[in-house]
């Protein structure tokens, strides 16, 4: 039996639930040509390439790849894959490994305002990616209290938590904060023609 290095990226991906099927990819490219993100957002987005990078242990390239951070787990590719690989699962595993090594997403994630969070748990229950959890944390002026915490490795920046939060303590940072969205809304409402 061949000796494999358990430290290699491929072995680490395979060891985490979701990444088991990594080696089954035969590079047909169906996932890439099926992908909406590739079509609408990022032409360089390519799940097939990311899987190759993982298989051949190109760790830095894989962790810097747009594909790692942009997948929204819409699973359009999953039913199209002739090898029945749950590709978004594999990508999520690679992203988790990247985060564990201290890599940050170049894109935005939800941020918690710990000064106002009351740890009601509403955001935890609405998050479709199970990215939010309640943790005990020492917060300035408030002492050791439970607050919501976002796992950047899982957050897809959908904004569900921000919409659900009753104290506006969790929000997306850049283009999609409440103020921006309200302004957008007014612009739309004031437009005469649609």
């Amino acid at each position: 039996m061949s000796q494999t290095n358990p430290e290699s990226l491929a072995e680490r991906v395979k060891a985490i639930p979701g990444g088991e099927m990594l080696m089954m990819c035969f590079s047909c490219g169906t996932c890439t040509s099926k992908c909406m993100i590739q079509e609408k957002l990022e032409p360089n987005y390519n799940p097939r390439r990311l899987i190759r990078e993982a298989v051949f242990n190109y760790k830095e390239e894989a962790f810097a790849d747009e594909t790692t951070w942009l997948c929204s787990a819409c699973d359009l590719c999953y039913p199209a894959c002739p090898q029945k690989i749950h590709i978004s699962g594999v990508i999520t595993v690679i992203k988790q490994l990247a985060v564990a090594e201290g890599k940050q997403t170049p894109y935005q994630t939800a941020k918690v305002d710990e000064a106002t969070c009351v740890a009601c748990g509403l955001c935890v229950s609405v998050c479709p990616y199970e990215a939010i959890s309640l943790v005990e944390k020492k917060v300035a002026f408030r002492g050791l209290i439970p607050v919501a915490s976002v796992d950047p490795g899982k957050c897809m920046a959908c904004g569900m938590c921000s919409a659900a939060c009753r104290s506006t303590s969790i929000r997306l940072t850049e283009d999609f904060n409440d103020q921006q969205l309200i302004e957008d809304l007014w612009t739309w409402l004031e437009r005469k023609t649609i």
């Binding site: 039996m1 035969f26 590079s27 047909c28 490219g29 169906t30 890439t32 040509s33 002739p82 090898q83």
Partner: protein, 628 residues
């Protein structure tokens, strides 16, 4: 085909179903149903007058429904034998064909199906293959987009005898296509549909592309592929020729085809793997190169012929490397794609080999079979004493046992394949298998467990799969525990419960019960009987309070050497976890229960004598070993 029809010793029985196959090698009784053609074969001269006169038109299946035929028809003009048929599902009984036939009087509406029974020496099965229907693959739009066609439709459109007389036109507007795409692996190499590779489609795509390029020199052809497989002699050169001729090869499986609803132009979106970029190209016409699948009635034929099927549904050969043309049933042979997808050279080779095999049977007066057949001791069989039993009859995958209440069961030796299912199942130990008698197998068990049995892992392996797996583990140098002791029987069905009890009574540390995966069983359903018994034993040992893992069931194929080594190592690890004192006391505790199950063992003819002899030899050897 014409040549075959001219041979006086070859009789072609067209339009005939095989209903029943009984008997055994050299002596098959085959029931044939010759379906009524409503045209007398001895009078029809194939003049086509009835077809011309017939007013009914139905879709022509032979032309993939691209054109029509009459209710009085032959599938194609080169049909052999050239005898017309009246399609009674379509016929409106106008009898115009009878008028047209005139004085020949070949048409006979009173004709009935003819059922005959024939004596047959050997059977060659050459039922071919069928095509995967790409309709469920919504992404390719077959059935919705008129210009997406299948390989078989392309075959007819490009055939000089086809519906368009050989000129390729696209179905939406009957215009010659300028840009054509061929998509490979439609349904094949796809775990959602057909998992396996269909073998010949790469070459088929290249052949079609070259033919079309010859017919229409300015056509632009692209072939979309995952991998191009051209493994045989001269095939790679053919692939070279295609590239020279200007056919483009695009690596990347298309994700979807879209259509302009007005012009019916098609757009294929795929990732061009070599460019690493998603590309979209426009085509006038797309051909889907579908997977090869077994015939729709393959399951029915398999039960009529009593031959097993491989995982994909193809007929299963006796041995994939050494006897690819033989079925597991003596006297039945396979030719061509009914046994697995094949191209023409491979089919011809297999067909010739099957014919040679069959003629060997036809030219011999006697036939040698494997000597490992089952034998019944009539005085031990309870059926002879008037009890209703028949367990052996139900266990036999080949129907080789004649059971009738009131007389002892009998084995038809020529039909017996020697799996030992009857031997393993018989509750009265009234059946034995030559070369694997209870006395012989028990002697082996006793010898293997003569020294320190509690440290041993006794592995029951079936001849075809797990024995091969263990062999492969050895030749591949996969390391596994040296405490393993292998014991070969023909099939997991032969692994009698008595043998397991005896091994545990002797103090075996652990027992592996291994055989083929159910779909690989060389004895049709032998493994099923073995698996049932194994799960029964597992439950029994659990009730007795045996440590978990001491009795283990695993199905290991001949290709899974690594699995065999892993299983044995895992069993050794489980055994190591039990402290030796505990294991010994458990063995002592279970001994009386095993003895209870084995109370009648010594009554089996030959067992007692054999075991006395084994004990004598083993003791003598051990004595010598100690003194040396």
């Amino acid at each position: 085909m014409v040549d075959a029809a001219r041979q006086p010793l070859i009789e072609i029985k067209a339009f005939t179903d095989v209903e029943k196959v009984e008997g055994f090698v050299g002596n098959f009784k085959v029931t044939l149903r010759e379906k009524a053609k409503y045209v007398r074969a001895d009078r029809c001269n194939g003049c086509n007058a009835c077809s011309l006169a017939c007013p009914v038109e139905v879709p022509n299946y032979f032309e993939m429904n691209l054109s029509s035929r009459k209710a009085a028809y032959v599938p194609m003009s080169q049909s052999v034998p050239l005898i017309y048929t009246i399609d009674m599902d379509a016929c409106i009984h106008c009898y115009k064909c009878v008028e047209a036939c005139g004085s020949l009087q070949a048409i006979d509406f009173g004709m009935q199906d003819k059922v005959t029974e024939e004596d047959i020496g050997a059977i060659v099965v050459a039922t071919g293959f069928s095509h995967f229907d790409p309709t469920p693959m919504m992404e390719y739009g077959y059935g919705h987009f008129p210009n997406v066609i299948t390989a078989m439709e392309m075959e007819r459109l490009n055939n000089s005898a086809g519906p368009t007389r050989g000129s390729l036109i696209r179905p939406s507007d009957n215009v010659k296509p300028k840009r054509l795409a061929i998509i490979n692996c439609v349904g094949s190499r796809d775990k959602r549909y057909i998992q396996s590779c269909s073998n010949f489609c790469c070459m088929y795509a290249i052949k079609n592309a070259l033919l079309l390029k010859q017919a229409i020199p300015d056509i632009d052809i692209s072939i979309y592929y995952i991998d191009i497989r051209t493994p045989s002699k001269g095939y790679e050169e053919f692939y070279d020729r295609a590239r020279e001729a200007g056919i483009k090869f695009v690596q990347g499986r298309p994700a979807e085809i879209t259509e302009d609803p007005e012009t019916h132009q098609l757009f294929i979106k795929s990732e061009d793997i070599t460019l690493g970029r998603v590309v979209e190209h426009e085509y006038d016409m797309v051909m889907l190169n579908q997977a090869a699948i077994p015939q729709p009635d393959q399951n029915h034929m398999s039960s009529v012929l009593n031959v097993a099927q491989s995982p994909g549904g193809w007929f299963m050969e006796y041995h994939p490397k050494l006897r690819p043309m033989d079925s597991p049933t003596d006297g039945i042979f396979f030719a061509g794609a009914c046994q697995g997808p094949k191209d023409i050279p491979a089919s011809v080779a297999q067909g010739s080999a099957a014919a040679a095999r069959a003629s060997r049977i036809l030219h011999s007066d006697t036939w040698q079979i494997e000597p490992t057949v089952a034998v019944v001791w009539p005085d031990r069989c309870v059926s002879g004493k008037g009890q209703a039993c028949g367990i052996c009859d139900r266990a036999c995958p080949y129907g080789a046992i004649n059971y009738e209440k009131g007389s002892a069961a009998e084995v038809v030796t020529a039909k017996c394949h020697g799996c030992g299912a009857c031997v393993g199942e018989c509750p009265h130990d009234a059946v034995t298998q030559l070369h694997f008698t209870d006395a012989q197998v028990l002697s082996q068990i006793r010898t293997l467990l003569a020294v320190e049995p509690e440290k041993k892992i006794l592995a029951f392996r079936c001849q075809w799969c797990s024995y091969g797996g263990a062999d492969l583990a050895g030749t591949s140098h996969f390391e596994y525990s040296a405490n393993e002791r292998g014991l070969r029987v023909m099939c997991s069905a032969r692994m009698d419960a008595d043998l397991i009890f005896e091994a545990f009574r002797l103090g075996a540390g652990a027992i592996l019960y291994s055989g083929c995966h159910p779909q690989d069983c060389h004895y049709i359903t032998g493994q099923v009987a073995g698996a049932k018994r194994a799960s029964r034993l597992e439950k029994m040992f659990e009730r007795m309070g045996m440590s978990p893992g001491r009795f283990r069931t695993e199905w290991i194929s001949a290709a899974e050497g690594d699995k065999y080594a892993r299983v044995i190592n895992e069993m050794q690890a489980t055994l190591d976890e039990i402290p030796m004192e505990e294991l010994k006391s458990e063995i002592e505790r279970l001994k009386p229960e095993m003895e209870k199950k084995l109370s009648k063992l010594n009554q089996i003819p030959g067992v007692e004598e054999a075991l006395i002899q084994v004990d004598f030899i083993v003791n003598e050897m051990l004595g010598k070993a100690v003194s040396a």
